[in-house]
C-alpha cells in the first residue's frame, strides 16, 4: 500500500503551491538575462526582437556607408540601460556622434588601435563587457573567428563585427546586416545640412529568410527608424 494513493477513486487535487515556494521555482535564467535590449525600432528587424547574449552579429558596409553608426545603433539601448560596451578597432571615434546615437559613454571602453594583438585584446575584453563591437579591416582567420565566437558564447556577451566585406568574417553569423546602399538627405548644393540617412539593408538571421529592410540611421529627428521591410513574417 502506498501512502499517497490510498484514495485512488477520488480525483487528486494538488494543494496550492505556497507563494514563497513558487517564487523559488521560477526559471533561474530569465528571458531578459539571455538577451540584450535594442532600440525598439530596430527590434522589429531582429530575430526575437533583441540581441542574444553569446551571439555574433556581422554588420557590413563600405567605408562611410554607415556601418559603424548602424552597429552602434544596435548597441545603444543596451548601453543606455547600463550595460558595459567595448569598441575595438575604431581608431578615431567621434564621441559626440556616439552619444547622439544613444551610447552612454560612461560605460564604454575603447581600444582604438589594438594592432596585431587585437585578438587577445578582444578575447580579454569579452570578460568585462556585455556587448563588444569589433571593427575588422582584413579577413579574420578561421581559428580566430572560432575562438572569439566561443569566448562570446562562454562569457554570454554579444559580439558585433563591423567590416567592409561580409566575407571578412569567415563563420556564419547569428545575425547579418549588410548595407546595400546609403543615401543622405537634407544636404543640397550649398544649402541645408546632412540631416538623415537611409540605409537599405539585407537582414540575414539564422534560420530565417533573407529580408530587405530600410532603416533611417539617423532619421530627421535623430532617432533610429525602420522605414519599411519585406518578408518579415506577417509584416
Amino acid at each position: 500500500m502506498f501512502a499517497f494513493s490510498d484514495d485512488a477513486n477520488q480525483p487528486r487535487r494538488r494543494p496550492p503551491v505556497p507563494s514563497a515556494l513558487r517564487d523559488l521555482a521560477r526559471p533561474v535564467v530569465a528571458a531578459a538575462a539571455r538577451t540584450l535590449p535594442v532600440t525598439q525600432s530596430l527590434s522589429s528587424i531582429l530575430p526575437r526582437g533583441a540581441l542574444r547574449r553569446g551571439s555574433v552579429s556581422v554588420v557590413s558596409g563600405s567605408q562611410g556607408s554607415g556601418a559603424i553608426s548602424l552597429a552602434l545603433a544596435l548597441a545603444a539601448e543596451a548601453s543606455a540601460q547600463g550595460h558595459w560596451c567595448g569598441v575595438v578597432g575604431i581608431s578615431d571615434p567621434g564621441a559626440t556622434a556616439m552619444s547622439e546615437v544613444g551610447m552612454d559613454l560612461r560605460r564604454v571602453l575603447f581600444t582604438p588601435e589594438p594592432s596585431k594583438r587585437w585578438l587577445e585584446v578582444t578575447a580579454e575584453l569579452l570578460d568585462g563587457v556585455e556587448l563588444l563591437i569589433v571593427r575588422v579591416q582584413a579577413a579574420v582567420a578561421f581559428s580566430a573567428a572560432r575562438r572569439l565566437s566561443a569566448r562570446a558564447r562562454e562569457r554570454r556577451a554579444a559580439l558585433i563585427i563591423v567590416t567592409e566585406h561580409r566575407q571578412y568574417w569567415p563563420l556564419p553569423a547569428d545575425l547579418g546586416l549588410s548595407i546595400r546602399s546609403s543615401t543622405w538627405m537634407g544636404i543640397g548644393r550649398g544649402d541645408g545640412h546632412l540631416r538623415s540617412r537611409r540605409l537599405e539593408l539585407e537582414v540575414a538571421a539564422r534560420g530565417e529568410h533573407l529580408r530587405l529592410v530600410s532603416v533611417w540611421v539617423p532619421s530627421q529627428d535623430g532617432a533610429i527608424l525602420v522605414a519599411h521591410g519585406h518578408g518579415h513574417g506577417d509584416a
Binding site: A33, S69, G82, T96, S99, L105, L109
Partner: protein
Amino acid sequence: MVLWIRDARSKSNDVAALRIFAEALSIVGQRCPFVEPVRLGVMALPVRSVARFFGGELAICDLLRDDLAELLEHHAMELHIGIADGLFAAVLAASHEELVAAGETPSFLARQAIERLHRPEIAELCQRLGIRTLGAFAMLDEDRVLERFGLDAVHCHRVARGVEPELVGVRDPDIIKRLHLLEAPEIATTQVGFFGGTSARDERAQRIAIRLQSHFGASSVQVALDKPGRDPAERAIFDAFAVEQQTVLHDSAPWPARLPTPSPMTIFTRPRDIQLFDEFDQAIGIDGAGLLSATPAVYRDGGSRYGIAAWAGPWPVTGPWWRQQQRKNRLQILTSSGCAVLASHDGRGWQLVGRYD
C-alpha cells in the same frame, strides 16, 4: 599540510602565476574543501583530520600529486608537499618535502637553521651568540629573548618552540583579495547602485580594463572624457582608462554639438590636407565674406579625387578671443559615391577632419 607550487623556470609573470595558483586551489578544493591560500604558490590544508578518510597521509599526498600533475606539468611548475603541526613548520616541511609525524614537529623545528625565521636581525645576533638552529634558539629563556631581542623575537621564539603555529609574515594578507580580483564573477543581471555607486558589472569592466592595461599598456584601454573647452566635433577626447576617472565620467553632461546633428562618427586625430576644386580645376578657398570662392566640384585627398555631389556650409567656427587668428570654417561634403565627410578651412588650406561613418 602545505602544498608549495614553485615555478621551475620562474619565467611567468605574476598574473599568470596567480591564475595557475587559482586553478590548483580549485583542483585541491575538490578533494579537500578546507584548503586555504597562504601566499602565492602556497596553500595549506588541515590534513591530520582527513588523512584517515583518504587512507593515510601518504595516500592523500599521492592523490593530490596525481590531481595536480597535469596542470603543473603543463606550466612547468614543481610541487612540494610537507606535513607538520602548525603553518610555519608545515611550510618548512614542504620546502624539504618532509612528512613530519605527529608529535615530531618540535624536533623537526629544532633542526632548522635560524635563518628560516626570515628575521635577519635575529639571525645575525644569534649567529654571534653561537646559536645556529631554531632548537638552540628555543632553548633560550623567553625573558632573556624579550630583553635582548624585543617583542617580535618573543613571537619568533614561541614559533620556534612550537607553542605558536604561525609566524607573522608567512601569510600574504592580500592573497584572497588578489584571487578574487582574478576571478571574473558571473554576469550580474541585477544592477546595484546605477546612480552614484558602482554596480557589480561596473567593477567587472574596470577590472578587465586594468588587466588589459597591464598587458598591453595604459593607452590600450581608453574612455571618452568630457574636457571643457574642447570641441568634441573636432577633436577626439579620449584618455587612458583610470579608475579615478570614473567620477569624471559619471558627472559628464551631454556632449555639446557645435555642428548641426548628426555629428561625424569618425574624427581624424591626424587630419589630412585636401584640396577643393571647381569644375575648371581651379582651387577653391574661402573669401573675405566667409563664402566659398567658387562652386566646388571635386576634392583631392592624396592621390584620389572624389566628385562632390552636394555640400553645406561653410560655417564659421568662432573660437575664444585668444584664438581669433585660428578662425575656422567647416564644410560638409557629400561625395558622388554617397559618402559624407567634414572638411575644415583654417585660412590657409582645407583639411579632412571627419567622416560620417
